[in-house]
């Protein structure tokens, strides 16, 4: 491949958008040509610079309230309207009498059944009387925790790890008057890294656990791929930060993560089983998930 052809394809190469053959050719050329390789390094550095772009914008806490007022609250109100009309039907004397009669029959039947089977199992109807059972009763996650986890991008597996007390404001807010906390030693980078590691762990777990059959049916990795692209970008920034702050264990771990993130990010949306299997086997073989867990268990203060 000539240098001018390679330079023309560099951006698409960096974007992971080149067809497989071109990608291989550019890769080979970059190994052999110092000049093009330097251009690629410049392009990567430029990408890293943009990855550091930190917008002065956050999702304000009130935004959901406003949106909900125009969306889900309106729908709930509409449903309540139906409910009220339904209740209104029973406001007539005749309907009320029928309802009372039906209720009495139902109670009678229940009392009769209970008296006939004194040793039977206690009724499990208590759950039905609880407030606001989830609409989708089959959803175990919803039953255990009906409220959505705040700001958790990766709601995949290992949700048990999410309960770890890594959020500084909660600790400081609850116990700052009791403990001589050393939370001030933590900087925001540590929290970002911890969150990043946790999300990456979840991603790799999900890849490790994806069922790959011998059939040649594609596997939908759209979500994982998009997540991996975002995490890859984040990883580059955090790795450089760790290097600059001489946090070498963190830097090493993030360096080890990068090939996995690149491979997942470069999968097609509907990946071939063998491509997924290769990554999955490497995740298992290298025990990278265990390394991530170990890193998190050592705690932020040790870093």
């Amino acid at each position: 491949m000539k240098c001018e052809v390679c330079l023309e394809l560099l951006e698409e190469y960096l974007d992971g958008e080149l067809p497989r053959e071109d990608r291989a050719e550019v890769g080979e050329h970059l190994i052999a040509c110092a000049e093009c390789s330097a251009s690629f390094a410049d392009l990567t550095a430029e990408q890293e610079l943009f990855a550091r772009y930190d917008r002065d914008v956050e999702v304000p806490p009130f935004l959901w309230t406003r949106i909900a007022a125009h969306t889900v609250a309106e729908s709930d109100a509409a449903r309540n309207g139906w409910y009220k009309r339904f209740v209104a039907v029973f406001a007539t004397p005749l309907a009320s009498a029928i309802a009372v009669l039906l209720l009495a029959i139902a109670v009678g039947v229940v009392v009769y059944v209970i008296s006939r089977k004194p040793a039977s199992k206690p009724a499990v109807a208590t759950r039905q009387t609880g407030p606001a059972l989830p609409r989708n009763g089959a959803d175990p996650i919803k039953v255990e925790d009906p409220k959505p986890a705040p700001k958790q991008d990766s709601n995949v597996v290992a949700s048990h790890r999410k309960s770890k007390p890594r959020v500084r404001p909660a600790i400081a807010g609850d116990q700052s008057d009791v403990l001589s906390s050393n939370q001030s030693d933590l900087d925001l980078d540590d929290l970002d890294t911890a969150r990043h590691i946790e999300q990456t762990e979840n991603l790799l777990r999900s890849i490790r656990n994806v069922p790959v059959s011998d059939s040649d049916e594609d596997i939908d990795v759209t979500y994982d791929k998009a997540l991996s692209r975002r995490l890859l970008n984040e990883n580059v920034v955090l790795r450089r930060d760790a290097e600059m702050k001489a946090k070498f264990p963190t830097k090493t771990l993030l360096t080890d993560l990068e090939p996995f993130l690149i491979d997942i990010a470069n999968l097609p949306d509907h990946a071939r089983p063998e491509d997924v299997r290769v990554i999955k086997e490497r995740v298992k073989k290298t025990e990278i998930v265990a390394a991530l867990i170990d890193y998190q268990d050592r705690g932020t203060n040790n870093r």
């Binding site: 930190d54 914008v57 959505p148 709601n155 995949v156 049916e217 594609d218 596997i219 990795v221 600059m244």
Partner: protein
């Protein structure tokens, strides 16, 4: 395209497709999950486009309200993030056009930050991140709308070309050209800071 297998990686009950189904069935928790998952990228994208924080908040609200009202029309093969970005793009574009129509165009190209640079490369580490952010923000604002759109989606939000084409409706050729030119313009503006010294 072959029919997809039932194997889905890492998505469980809260996959985007599942969330959409649940919203269509009236599950408001599912819509809140969608908001929590996508509000940050959406507000960032809109902010990149309009360069105004308060307006970005307002337009993000509008995006999610429109999304909720039309989610039942979303096609099964469409990615939720792509679909939301498409709505956000339309909302941002309408706002930008309204601003132009109202002849209330704000000169976003504040030269003051550009004037800080000379022609000598300055290492990134030596640059105050605040200054760098301001430079990128203003450089973005100086791009024309199409270039800003593709640059933002590709470089700042890591969308694929296919996703960008879906969001913008641009042909692959147009988006590649716009992206290349946008990168070149951005490079020219940040070069003194980044020490990038090549031409592509």
């Amino acid at each position: 395209m072959k029919p997809l297998t039932v194997a889905f990686a890492g998505t469980l009950m809260n996959s985007p497709a599942d969330l959409v189904t649940r919203v269509c069935q009236g599950d408001s928790d599912a819509f809140r999950l969608i908001f929590e998952r996508y509000s940050r990228p959406v507000i960032s994208f809109i902010y990149d486009m309009v360069n105004d924080r308060a307006l970005a908040e307002e337009l993000t609200q509008e995006t999610f309200v429109r999304a909720y009202r039309s989610i039942h029309t979303m096609r099964a093969e469409t990615k939720l993030s792509t679909w939301l970005f498409g709505i956000a793009r339309n909302v941002a574009r309408e706002s930008l056009r309204a601003r132009v129509r109202a002849n209330n165009h704000v000169d976003l190209a504040d030269k003051s930050v550009m004037d800080l640079s000379d022609n000598k490369p300055v290492p990134v580490e030596g640059l105050l991140s605040k200054e760098l952010n301001a430079l990128i923000r203003r450089s973005l604002a100086e791009l024309d709308e199409d270039k800003r759109l593709v640059f933002t989606l590709k470089v700042l939000h890591q969308c694929s070309y296919e996703e960008i084409a879906t969001i913008t409706g641009f042909s692959l050729a147009k988006l590649k050209t716009d992206l290349h030119r946008a990168r070149a313009e951005m490079r020219k503006r940040i070069r003194p800071y980044a020490g990038v010294g090549y031409e592509v």
